[in-house]
């Protein structure tokens, strides 16, 4: 699973994000304001939502799935499910919001002034849409090939990082130009880049030989000596920011509780490939999945793991996401079996559409 940028729950975002966010905030506001005031705020919000077509499109919680077929499928239409698909709250159907042959590895969403932007990490480069997916522009050039992951500076939307098989690239001018940032790396393959929740100049990269950290906005990097190779994904714990979890190619989950000083293997989990890790918003449950692994859960910050779904029919779990507003709701994206979801923290699962698709990332929006 690839990274995305967290959004602060501001009034401006609230207006743009839509009804679900409004509901969430309502509970907060009830503590301080009388009922009549709240109703007026809701009406104002709904008016703004439906007047603005972009906002209207995104009213309600949406799930966004980023689908990948294979870079070896070169012909458009070779597969129904390639690109980015969106599912509105309570809807059953997924709808494409991108080019049908956009081989996609990851997505990020940002606020750029009043404009919401989708970024898709894809085979043709980094794609950006500022109109809810109606039109897209590739903002990388030929040097920045096969973008696997994108991270957006939360404070400056003109600063963008991408991870590619050829290294990390950074743009500081809103995607107009890109500079390779590989000082300190021993290998060049990078799978994922994320930004530290505490400091936007601190980044982490899941690379082939190790996890790398930069504390100077990608100018230099140092390996964190995880003790395993083949970093497939890296996740920072949502409440304890010193905790990082890594999915590896052959060593299951590796976890640090001391900000990368020491690492240990997640107990109970066999040495397997883990491609996706995600935690509930409160951080109490962490889920992981990978190659023939089924779904695993940890309730002790990654120290120990239990398999909660063997999922024998699924060869690989590429992506995994816990609904940030409903911790019971968990979704996984598979290779070739589309999306599955659970509404009871993983005890039972059902197929949730896009059957046949390879789903590289799922995000809930608003986050």
């Amino acid at each position: 699973m690839k990274s995305h940028t967290d959004q602060k729950l501001t009034l401006k975002n609230l207006l743009i994000f839509g009804v679900t966010e409004m509901e969430r905030t309502q509970k907060f506001l009830k503590k301080f304001f009388p009922r009549g005031f709240l109703i007026r705020v809701e009406y104002l919000m709904l008016l703004l939502i439906f007047v603005n077509p972009l906002t209207a499109r995104q009213s309600g919680k949406v799930c966004i799935a980023v689908l990948f077929n294979s870079t070896k499928s070169n012909v458009a239409g070779a597969d129904r499910y390639v690109g980015v698909f969106i599912r509105e709250k309570d809807e059953a159907e997924w709808q494409s919001i991108s080019n049908t042959n956009l081989f996609s590895f990851g997505i990020s969403i940002s606020q750029h002034g009043a404009t919401q932007r989708y970024y898709i990490a894809g085979g043709n480069g980094l794609h950006r849409s500022s109109d809810g997916g109606k039109t897209w522009k590739i903002i990388t050039s030929w040097q920045t090939m096969e973008v696997l992951s994108v991270a957006l500076d939360p404070a400056d939307s003109t600063v963008i990082y991408v991870a590619t098989p050829y290294g990390i690239f950074k743009s500081t001018d809103d995607g107009k130009s890109w500079i390779e940032k590989m000082r300190g790396f021993k290998t060049w393959y990078t799978d994922e880049v994320i930004i530290d929740r505490r400091d936007r100049r601190t980044l982490y990269v899941a690379a082939e030989d190790d996890l790398y950290r930069s504390t100077d906005g990608a100018e230099s990097w140092s390996a964190l000596n995880v003790g395993a190779s083949g970093m497939r994904t890296v996740v920072q714990h949502p409440t304890n920011f010193n905790i990082f979890l890594i999915g590896t190619e052959d060593h299951g989950v590796r976890v640090t509780w001391d900000n990368g000083k020491s690492w240990k293997a997640g107990a109970g989990m066999p040495a397997t490939a883990i491609y996706a890790i995600h935690a509930s918003a409160d951080g109490k449950e962490i889920y992981a999945g990978g190659f023939r692994s089924g779904v695993w859960r940890s309730e002790d910050f990654g120290q120990s793991w239990q398999q909660i779904w063997a999922a024998p029919e699924i060869e690989a779990i590429y992506s995994l996401m816990v609904d940030p507003l409903e911790a019971n709701h968990v979704m996984v994206g598979t290779n070739g079996k589309g999306i599955y979801e659970s509404f009871d923290k993983g005890r039972t699962w059902k197929q949730a559409g896009l059957e046949g698709a390879h789903v590289k990332q799922i995000v809930f929006y608003p986050f």
Binding site: A76, P165, W188, N335
Partner: protein, 596 residues
């Protein structure tokens, strides 16, 4: 004066017919006209057939309808479409109605032009993009499939094409010497040559065409693309004259001496007609390249340095060198790559390909290797699932019986017409056997008590010495030689009727030869003395010794042979044929010709 004008065509023809160049160009014209006549009758719908029909004035309404259909069919796209459409458009634009002009323009706004992930994909994509952006300049990003303006697209395409041309001229191709993928480089560069308005880019395209055809020519034998190949499909590997490159050889080199699409030759894969762009192009092959391609009056050694395609992980270099060795005669070509994983999926490490009027005119061995890790070296997909992904498009990747493969457990050492191929297969490899392709079209295949297997194919004689026990499996068109020993190898020496006389004499000579491999299982070393007295000693993972002296691959040039010379990294390719030279200088973007 009037009379002169009336007859000037005949006078010119007469003048040209007195020279080789004139003759070759005349026959080229005849072949291209023949090609267009044949293809214009084809019923299928593609940009090349459409171009042939429009260029020949055959079935013009049908051709326009086909083109219209291709602009409306949203199920197609990608890099093949990106360059094919602009090529068909630019060659035929004067014949198209306004509605088709608009539809073709719209295709570059609405169609999905995937760039792909291989060298040939990018050449097609960026050539198409370059010419499309040049054709429709000054338009903003809303008018393009990728949201970039005409200027942005042109700049990007130009930059990458310049990068690729320089890289190829200095370090060689990554997808080198592929009988199939050769066409995906030549065809787009032909339209770049014909329609690039920038004279520098046009010149570069001309030089790249010369370069690509010269590269082919040095290893060309009567329509066959000899030597090791970076990539090819099994059906072309086991039938070299069935490869798509054969059509190009026919059109430009005048060989083979039959029409490659002839059903009488049992060919089935000649439905692809990219050569039409060659037939309508203004590019003309320099005569020296045709001569290099066809003069096999003297045997020669030709070596090359190429590069591995982009390695993204599990490697220390992004583009390690590939060392090629090819021995060419008038009867056969024996060629090899130095071994290991040099290309994923479709590598063809060595073979002997012989002149024959029968199909399947080749013989080789391989280790049918596959692994997710191999693919993960080159593709960003998850290594544990990528093998199945590849199988979807290259149907035989995991097949134990496949006829193309790169293997980390295979190494070669060639000296002229002799070759040692050694294998040291990991016991955990998915397939642990070796296979050899022995076509049933061989005139003879004899297992001798001496341990040698002797084959006769026309005027070519093959001596094949397996180091370990083996078995034969009969298949439809071939005998499959199979050996299950992990530490293994073969020695091959090729001869010709002109050297040995009767086949019996050839066999007799080899019956006396002893291969020194007494401790092979422990030292992985084989020592062999060739018929001409050269002693070649090869240790798997170790030295290659020729008459006691180590062979140093580092000394290999980009091209080194009697016809082609180029120092790796120089960007200069010198072609020589008798007293003629043609020098492509990619640093100066200049062509120099000399006659001594």
């Amino acid at each position: 004066m009037i009379r002169f004008c009336r007859y000037w065509r005949f006078i010119l023809i007469a003048v040209f017919s007195l020279t080789d160049i004139g003759h070759s160009q005349t026959t080229f014209v005849a072949r291209k006209d023949r090609l267009l006549a044949v293809v214009s009758q084809e019923p299928h719908k593609d940009f090349f057939i459409i171009t042939a029909k429009l260029g020949s004035g055959v079935d013009v309404p049908q051709a326009l309808s086909m083109l219209d259909s291709l602009t409306r069919d949203e199920s197609i796209g990608g890099m093949f479409y990106a360059y094919g459409l602009i090529g068909a458009y630019l060659y035929n634009r004067h014949l198209l109605p306004d509605s088709l002009h608009r539809k073709i323009r719209r295709a570059y706004r609405e169609r999905k032009m995937v760039r792909g992930d291989t060298e040939n994909h990018w050449v097609m994509y960026y050539t198409g993009l370059y010419l499309a952006a040049q054709t429709w300049p000054n338009e903003d990003g809303t008018q393009w499939f990728n949201g970039k303006s005409s200027a942005e697209n042109f700049k990007e395409a130009e930059a990458w094409l310049n990068f690729w041309i320089k890289l190829t001229a200095t370090k060689g191709q990554g997808e080198f010497d592929s009988p199939t993928y050769f066409i995906t480089f030549v065809t787009p560069i032909l339209i770049l040559h014909d329609f690039a308005q920038d004279p520098v880019m046009k010149k570069k395209a001309q030089m790249m065409l010369d370069y690509l055809f010269a590269d082919f020519a040095a290893e060309h034998l009567r329509g066959n693309y000899g030597g090791g190949h970076s990539r090819d499909y099994p059906q072309d590997i086991i039938y070299p004259l069935g490869a798509l490159s054969t059509k190009w050889a026919w059109l430009y080199f005048g060989e083979p001496d039959f029409e490659p699409w002839s059903e009488a030759r049992g060919q089935s894969r000649h439905r692809s007609w990219e050569t039409v762009f060659g037939a309508v192009s203004s590019y003309r092959l320099p005569e020296i390249i045709r001569q290099i391609a066809t003069d096999r009056s003297a045997p020669y050694v030709h070596t090359e340095t190429k590069r591995v395609r982009n390695v993204i992980r599990f490697g220390e270099q992004k583009n390690p060198p590939v060392y090629k060795y090819t021995y060419m005669t008038s009867d056969y070509v024996l060629g090899s790559l130095h071994g290991g994983i040099l290309q994923p999926i479709q590598q063809h490490t060595w073979d002997v390909t012989f002149v024959s009027d029968k199909p399947n005119n080749t013989l080789f061995t391989l280790h049918p290797f596959y692994s997710g890790k191999e693919l993960a070296m080159f593709f960003p997909e998850e290594q544990k699932v990528v093998s199945d992904e590849v199988n979807r498009f290259h149907l035989v990747y995991t097949d134990p019986n496949k006829w193309n493969s790169s293997s980390p457990y295979e190494q070669t050492f060639q000296h002229k017409n002799a070759l040692i191929v050694l294998y040291n297969i990991d016991q955990n490899a998915k397939h642990s056997h070796l296979d050899g392709f022995f076509p049933k079209t061989l005139d003879e295949r004899v297992e001798d008590a001496s341990g040698w297997i002797f084959c006769k194919a026309g005027k070519t004689y093959i001596a094949f010495f397996p180091l370990k026990k083996y078995e034969w499996i009969e298949e439809a068109i071939n005998w499959r030689w199979r050996s299950h020993e992990l530490i293994n190898g073969v020695i091959v020496e090729i001869g010709a009727e002109a050297d040995y006389g009767a086949f019996a004499e050839f066999k007799k000579r080899f019956q006396q030869v002893k291969v020194e491999n007494q401790n092979f299982d422990t030292n992985l070393t084989v020592k062999y003395t060739t018929q001409d007295g050269a002693v070649i000693q090869f240790t798997y993972g170790g030295q290659r010794l020729l008459n006691g002296k180590p062979v140093d691959f580092a000394s290999y040039k980009a091209f080194n042979g009697p016809f082609l010379q180029s120092e790796t990294g120089s960007g200069v390719l010198k072609m020589t044929y008798k007293n003629h030279t043609r020098i492509l200088d990619f640093n100066k973007i200049a062509i120099e010709e000399k006659t001594n």
